[in-house]
C-alpha cells in the first residue's frame, strides 16, 4: 500500500476497502519512522492531518466523492497555508503564519485532498540540491549520502520514500523536474499561466509555476486537473488558456505516428554516460511503440543558463525586497535606525545563496548595466522561445534527459555556485519559454534514478501526458522504489 499510486488509493477508497483515516495514519506512521533519516518534512501536525481525513470520510458518507477525496498530498514550504507555519525554509520567515491559503491550496481542499504537511526545500527555492534550506539538508531515499535534487527536494524525497503518495512542488528553472528525476518519481511543470501563483511565495515571477510530484503520470494529471484554471487574483494566470482533458490524455497512450524531437544540444559530451544511455534506450522504446524520432536543433540552448541567471536573480532581487521586517518576517534586535533595521534584518534572515542571487540581480538591474544584462537576457529569452516554436513546427513533442547527472553527494557542489547552476542545464529553457515539461523515471545510472524529460508546446500538456503514459505503460521504471524504505528496486 505505501508505494501505491494516488489512483490505486482512490480505487480502494471508492470501493470501501479502506478509509481516508486509515490511509492518513499509514503515511503518518511512515513519516514518524523515516523523517528523521530523510528530513523531507519541515512541519507535520498529525492531529490536524487526521482531522482532515475524518472530515473527508464524513463527507464521503453523505455526498459523492470529490476528485481527490481523502487522498494525502504534501506541499512544499513555499505554499501559503493558514494551517501551520509557512517559512519557505528561510530564517527570514521563521514562524511566519500566512493569513490566507494559496489558491492551489484552496483548490486541493475543495477537491477533498488531505494536506499532509510542509516539505523541505532550498531557501526561497534557490538551489538544485535542497542544501540551502535553513532547516537542514534533505536526503535522497536511494542513497542518503546524496542530495534529493532541488529546490523541491523534500517533496521528491517524501514521494520517493512513500511518506506521502503525492506532493506539490514549484518549478522556476527545473525545481520539480530535476528532483523528480534524481529520486525516480514523476513530476510535471505545467505551462506558465496554467496554475495560479497567488499565495505561492514569489522567487522569479515570470518563471515560477506550481505542479505535482507523484508516482505515476496519471497521478500528475489528477492533481493538475484539480489545481489548474484561471484565477482573477493572479495577474499572470491566463484567462483563456486552452483546456486539457487531463485523464483522457493519460488514457490515450498511443505513440503510433508521434513525432518526437531529439535535440542534439541535450545529448552532449560531459553528461553522465549511463544517463545518456538510459535516455537513448528510452527513445528506442518509443520507436518500438510506433513513434518517429526526429533529430532537431535548439541552437540557443547553451545560452539558456546564462539568460536564466540574469532574469531569475533580477526578478528575485525585486521580489525579495518585500522582506523589510516591517509587515512580516525577521527583525534584528535593537535596530539603531531604519537603515540598520533593513540591512541587519536581511543579513541575519537570508542565507548565503539567497544573498548571492539578490546581489546578482541588483547588479544586473543597476544603473549602467541594465541594457547589457537584463535587457539582453530578455532578448535571448525570445530567441530561446523561437527555437522551440520552430521545433514544434516539425515535431509533436521533445524528449531529453532531465538532468545531465544522477544525484550527487551532499556537499559535493556547495563550494562553487556556478557548477551547481549548471546542473539545471536541461530544464531551464523550458521555464524561459513557458512550456509544459514532465520528468519520469527511465532507468538507473550507478544505481541512482535517471529522468526522461518530455517538453510540449504551450498549453499541450495532453501530448506530454499521453507520451509519458504510453512509455510508463510499456516499461517498469515507475514501479521501482528504494528498498531501504520498503520499496521494490
Amino acid at each position: 500500500m505505501p508505494f501505491s499510486s494516488l489512483s490505486d488509493i482512490q480505487d480502494r477508497l471508492n470501493s470501501g476497502q479502506t478509509t481516508a483515516v486509515e490511509v492518513a495514519q499509514l503515511y503518518l506512521d511512515r513519516i514518524a519512522a523515516f523523517n528523521d533519516t530523510l528530513n523531507a518534512f519541515v512541519h507535520i501536525d498529525p492531529t490536524h492531518v487526521l482531522a482532515q481525513a475524518e472530515a473527508s470520510d464524513a463527507y464521503r458518507a453523505k455526498h459523492e466523492a470529490r476528485p481527490l477525496e481523502g487522498l494525502p498530498i504534501a506541499v512544499k514550504d513555499i505554499f501559503c497555508t493558514q494551517d501551520g507555519p509557512t517559512q519557505c525554509c528561510s530564517n527570514i520567515l521563521k514562524d511566519f503564519h500566512a493569513p490566507y491559503d494559496a489558491q492551489v491550496i484552496t483548490r486541493l481542499k475543495e477537491a477533498g485532498a488531505v494536506l499532509v504537511g510542509k516539505t523541505n526545500m532550498d531557501e526561497f527555492a534557490m538551489g538544485s540540491s535542497n542544501e540551502t534550506s535553513a532547516f537542514g539538508a534533505c536526503r535522497n531515499p536511494w542513497d542518503t549520502e546524496r542530495i534529493p535534487g532541488g529546490s523541491s527536494g523534500g517533496s521528491a524525497a517524501a514521494v520517493a520514500a512513500a511518506l506521502t503518495p503525492a506532493a506539490l512542488g514549484t518549478d522556476t528553472g527545473g525545481s520539480i523536474r530535476q528532483p523528480a528525476a534524481v529520486t525516480g518519481i514523476t513530476g510535471l511543470k505545467p505551462t506558465y499561466g496554467r496554475v495560479s501563483r497567488r499565495g505561492i511565495i514569489a522567487f522569479a515571477s515570470s518563471l515560477d509555476q506550481a505542479g505535482p510530484m507523484t508516482r505515476t503520470v496519471r497521478d500528475t494529471a489528477m492533481i493538475t486537473a484539480a489545481i489548474s484554471g484561471h484565477d482573477s487574483r493572479d495577474a499572470t494566470s491566463v484567462a483563456d488558456a486552452p483546456e486539457v482533458d487531463w485523464l483522457a490524455a493519460c488514457d490515450a497512450q498511443d505513440m503510433k505516428g508521434l513525432k518526437i524531437g531529439r535535440p542534439k544540444e541535450y545529448f552532449v559530451d560531459g553528461m553522465d554516460a549511463e544517463v545518456r544511455a538510459s535516455v537513448e534506450t528510452a527513445l528506442k522504446k518509443c520507436e518500438e511503440l510506433g513513434a518517429e524520432i526526429i533529430d532537431i536543433s535548439l541552437p540557443h540552448t547553451e545560452a539558456a543558463v546564462a539568460a536564466y541567471y540574469v532574469i531569475a536573480p533580477s526578478e528575485a532581487s525585486a521580489n525579495l525586497s518585500r522582506y523589510d521586517s516591517v509587515r512580516f518576517g525577521h527583525r534584528c534586535e535593537n535596530p539603531e535606525d531604519l537603515l540598520d533595521m533593513y540591512t541587519r534584518s536581511r543579513d541575519e534572515g537570508f542565507g548565503s545563496e539567497v544573498k548571492r542571487r539578490i546581489l546578482t540581480g541588483a547588479f544586473a538591474l543597476s544603473s549602467g548595466y541594465y541594457d547589457a544584462y537584463y535587457l539582453k537576457a530578455q532578448q535571448v529569452r525570445t530567441l530561446i522561445q523561437q527555437d522551440f516554436i520552430q521545433a514544434f513546427e516539425e515535431v509533436d513533442v521533445i524528449a531529453t534527459p532531465t538532468s545531465p547527472i544522477p544525484a550527487f553527494k551532499l556537499g559535493e557542489k556547495t563550494d562553487d555556485p556556478l557548477t551547481m547552476y549548471l546542473s539545471d542545464i536541461f530544464t531551464i529553457a523550458v521555464n524561459l519559454a513557458g512550456l509544459p515539461g514532465l520528468s519520469q523515471p527511465c532507468g538507473f545510472a550507478s544505481n541512482l534514478p535517471v529522468g526522461l524529460q518530455w517538453i510540449g508546446p504551450a498549453w499541450r500538456e495532453d501530448i506530454v501526458l499521453s507520451a509519458a503514459a504510453a512509455y510508463e505503460g510499456a516499461t517498469d521504471w515507475s514501479n521501482k522504489a528504494p528498498a531501504t524504505f520498503g520499496g521494490e528496486s
Binding site: T236, Y309, T360, F363, R381
Partner: protein, 92 residues
C-alpha cells in the same frame, strides 16, 4: 569583471560582514563572467520577452472585494501599535 560588492549590497539593503563581502566578491564576478557570454549573441531587432505568452496585463473593475482583516494581517508583523506598523524613528 570587478564588482563593487558593498555598493550592490547597499542597493539590496543587505549588510555584509567583511568576511561575507570577501567571499561574495569573487563569486559574483564568476557568475557575471559566465553570463557575459550573452553579449556574443546577435539580438539586433529582437524584442525582449517579459511574459512567456506575451499576455497583456488584465484589467478588473475598481471595486473593493476585500473585507477588513487588519488584525489578522498585522498578527505576523514584528511590531505594531494601535493598528500601525512601528519602525525606528525616521525624522528627529
Amino acid at each position: 569583471m570587478d564588482i563593487d560588492v558593498k555598493k550592490v549590497a547597499m542597493l539590496s539593503r543587505i549588510r555584509l560582514t567583511e568576511e561575507e563581502a570577501a567571499e561574495l566578491g569573487p563569486q559574483l564576478s564568476s557568475i557575471i563572467g559566465y553570463v557575459e557570454q550573452l553579449s556574443k549573441i546577435d539580438t539586433d531587432g529582437v524584442a525582449p520577452t517579459a511574459h512567456p505568452h506575451d499576455a497583456a496585463m488584465p484589467l478588473r473593475a475598481n471595486v473593493v472585494t476585500n473585507t477588513n482583516r487588519r488584525d489578522e494581517l498585522q498578527a505576523c508583523a514584528p511590531k505594531t501599535e494601535s493598528g500601525l506598523y512601528v519602525v525606528p524613528k525616521v525624522i528627529e
